[in-house]
């Protein structure tokens, strides 16, 4: 193995470049600051953007812990009415993209929305009602959209601890509440940090929600410099700053991931049976979160979609759907094949260098789509300029070759979702034991045969999951599609963006509903795995 320690890394490098080139391009612009652009950004853009980003990170970070941790504790360790179905139903909000939740909540809770209208009819006044289009509103929506990350990981932690850790603390003289703070929470720290960093990465990457709320952050600022100001340099300068935030999160997340390795297996679930007022309170709390984050928004979507069904569901619609499906399927297949290559390389050439390269190749999950879009577009534009004279000499008449083609979109989407496909494949590969490989070898299989006759058949389930997860993620994806799509290429997500930017909630509901329904597929997978 040691002889080949570099080989796996070299073979994985081209795939890693898919992520590395955009990242380096963006970071490089940080190294070549343009004073006049920075002066402009520093004066007009950055103060708001930095303040808003800080508010979001603290607000959403606090919010997802406040919802995710108690929900996880209740469903993993306690027993109360509805606990069984609530423990999986609380994952359902994962199917609802934050930008959908955003416009539904705005539509519901705004001055003209049904809630305030009803209040006015009943009491004659709704002026006391908190404004949804506010900083608090964005934080609330993002919290409801991203708490499942903390919930899922914290639940995992509490399931592995079980009641046992608390009992151990009790035998050493701590009451149950004291034991929770002293033992259960600190033991879960690596999971909590993991869930929190994922939620914060999504918060930094979010584009759709903050656009609905007109809440300026890095992603909207990048988008505006790109489209409204046509200033690619400013966009990359902003992107480079955003990447720095992201890298900090990545480091924290990787460390937390390492710390999780040393914890125990899932122990037999003996639960704390809640009594008295705690029983209905637990059920109510879970139901309230589920209703706010999923059930009510879904119902509202259905109502809106039904109201515009007759006028909106025309031929164009099948175009949006078809394009969404096409790009999602193409990206999912490409990404899954590349991820499969990474997984096989990692197994065949197990070494530090290979592992590091694979890690870099899957870094894109943390990088906001807006950043990747800029990072892919800049080198492609450069390449186009290089190629155009030759193409014209050959009789080509267009002004762009790669720029504005579906290929650019695929590159950016591939970088963003490599990890989504990689994870199920890798965990499938972990089920292929070294002993199974040795057994196959002792039966006379060569390395290549090993791949075809052992690895690939055993990875089939993982590959299917990978394709499905990617498909759905691309379907929901908004900023990359918006920024790199060919002119006039409209998908469901693009349609949602266009309708919401004009405040036409009902018209945005129809494509949203389709996205949410597809989004349910991987959640069902997740639920089945967790059961």
């Amino acid at each position: 193995m040691s002889k080949h320690s570099w080989r796996g890394a070299v073979l994985a490098l081209p795939i890693a470049l898919l992520t590395l080139i955009p990242l380096l391009v963006v970071l490089a612009s940080f190294l070549h600051p343009q004073p006049e652009i920075w002066a402009h950004l520093g004066q007009y853009v950055l103060p708001d953007v930095l303040r808003n980003t800080a508010i979001l990170l603290f607000g959403v970070g606090f919010g997802v812990l406040l919802l995710g941790v108690p929900l996880a504790w209740l469903t993993a360790v306690c027993e109360f009415p509805g606990r069984r179905w609530l423990s999986w139903a609380l994952m359902l909000p994962l199917a609802m993209p934050a930008y959908v939740l955003a416009f539904v909540q705005v539509g519901l809770l705004d001055f003209t929305g049904p809630v305030q209208t009803l209040l006015r009819e009943l009491t004659g006044d709704s002026s006391w009602f908190p404004r949804i289009r506010s900083t608090g509103g964005v934080v609330l929506v993002l919290t409801l959209a991203f708490y499942p990350y903390v919930y899922l990981l914290a639940r995992n932690a509490f399931l592995t601890q079980g009641k046992r850790a608390l009992e151990a603390a009790q035998m050493l003289g701590y009451s149950r509440p004291a034991g929770f703070w002293k033992v259960a929470l600190p033991m879960a720290r690596p999971w909590l940090i993991g869930g929190l960093t994922l939620a914060l990465m999504e918060t930094l990457a979010d584009f759709g929600t903050v656009s609905v709320f007109n809440f300026d952050t890095f992603t909207t600022a990048i988008y505006k410099s790109w489209f409204s100001l046509f200033n690619l340099t400013a966009a990359s300068q902003l992107a480079s700053l955003l990447v720095l935030f992201v890298l900090v999160l990545v480091l924290v997340e990787q460390r937390a991931r390492g710390a999780r390795a040393y914890h125990g297996r899932i122990v037999a679930a003996e639960r704390i049976v809640l009594t008295g007022w705690a029983r209905p309170a637990a059920t109510l709390f879970c139901l309230a979160v589920l209703a706010m984050a999923f059930v009510i928004p879904l119902l509202q979507l259905l109502v809106w979609a039904y109201s515009v069904l007759a006028t909106d569901l025309d031929a164009r619609y099948w175009g949006f759907t078809l394009r969404s499906m096409l790009i999602s399927l193409a990206a999912a297949l490409v990404v899954s094949v590349l991820a499969l290559v990474l997984v096989l390389l990692q197994r065949h050439y197990a070494s530090r260098a290979t592992r590091l390269t694979v890690q870099l190749a899957t870094l894109g999950y943390a990088v906001p789509g807006t950043v990747l879009a800029v990072g892919v577009f800049v080198p492609i534009a450069w390449l186009d300029n290089l190629l155009l004279p030759y193409a014209h000499a050959l009789g080509y008449e267009g002004f762009q070759i790669l720029k504005g083609s579906v290929a650019v979109m695929l590159l950016a989407l591939g970088a963003r979702f490599m990890a989504v496909a990689f994870q199920p494949l890798e965990s499938a590969m972990q089920r292929v034991s070294r002993n199974q490989e040795d057994a196959a070898r002792s039966l006379g299989l060569s390395n290549r045969q090993l791949t075809w006759r052992l690895h690939l058949p055993m990875l089939r389930g993982g590959a299917l999951t990978a394709v499905l997860m990617c498909f759905v993620d691309v379907m929901k994806e908004m900023p990359i599609t918006l920024m790199t799509r060919p002119f006039g290429w409209e998908t469901l997500a693009v349609r949602v963006f266009e309708m919401t930017s004009e405040g036409m909630w009902a018209n945005a509901a129809l494509p949203s509903l389709m996205i949410v329904l597809t989004g349910l597929l991987p959640v069902i997978l997740l639920v089945r795995k967790a059961e």
Binding site: R164, A165, E167, A168, M171, R189, Y262
Partner: protein
Amino acid sequence: MPLLIVNQIAIEFAGARRVVDGLSFALEAGEIACLLGASGCGKTTVLRSIAGFEALQAGEIHLQTQLLSVPGVQLPPQQRGIGMVFQDYALFPHLTVAQNVGFGLRSLTKPEQARRVAEMLDLVGLGELGGRYIHELSGGQQQRVALARALAPQPRLLLLDEPFSNLDVELRERLGQEVRQILKATGTTAILVTHDQREAFAMADQIGVMSEGRIRQWGTPYDLYHQPVDRFVANFIGEGVLLPARLTGPQCIEFELGELCRTAPVECGIGAELEILIRPDDIQHNDRSPLQAKVVAKAFRGAQFLYTLALPSGQQVLSLVPSHHNHALGELIGIELEVEHLIVFRK
């Protein structure tokens, strides 16, 4: 007055069957007791009720002069002053070894805590490892940390729930002896729960054999082996075979291997059908004996062979024979009866 009194306790789970039903025992200070039984017999439930994790439906539990549990009222676990070593150790992975051991010592000052932790680590032979994390230790070392953590607050009573079940067999017996020495050296009163009788024999002064939520017999390991009160205990403890027998005189019992005349431990009329328990050490190998049996199976045990022998009637018995007597399967060998303890049950 005993240190711990468990009186007629009954425990059931959420309306289901009674897991523990009318169970009683008492434990003197400084004694090590063991609840021995197959899995599902309720032994862990008894332990958890003493710890304060399970409520009683009937009966009561006293420790020293304090009432711990009665139906409807129970002192919370953290106020009982009882230590516990869990089956999976339940060590805290986010703390070091020393922090784990010092976890229950918050009433002491920092220097006192440090001294006590060092003392406990020395006691269990882990003096050097205080700064390590749990995942850096072997299974046996983790077991000792769990013990040190439970002993550090000087509990009035220590509970051990299958403490060696995660260890391999060799380590199990060695650690069993070691733990017994530590408990004796610290004068700790302890209750151990296990399904492994060798573990129970190695550790305990008193053993309670449990089945179906009750104690069938409470006694020393010697008594359980040589004076089992019923067939269940006779079968559960040690090896042996029950042979049909008949009462032939006021004090005489006859069965296939001969007649034994001694005070018969059952009262019934002459001619009554009985069963006699013959342990492997009751049958000795003697080449000159006229009594012959055929070797049906043999298991090498190092110093001894455990032979399964067929008597002329086809009835099989077990015999422990020094291992230099190596006989082939099918061979006839001479045996003689050497019964110290006569164990007879009514049929």
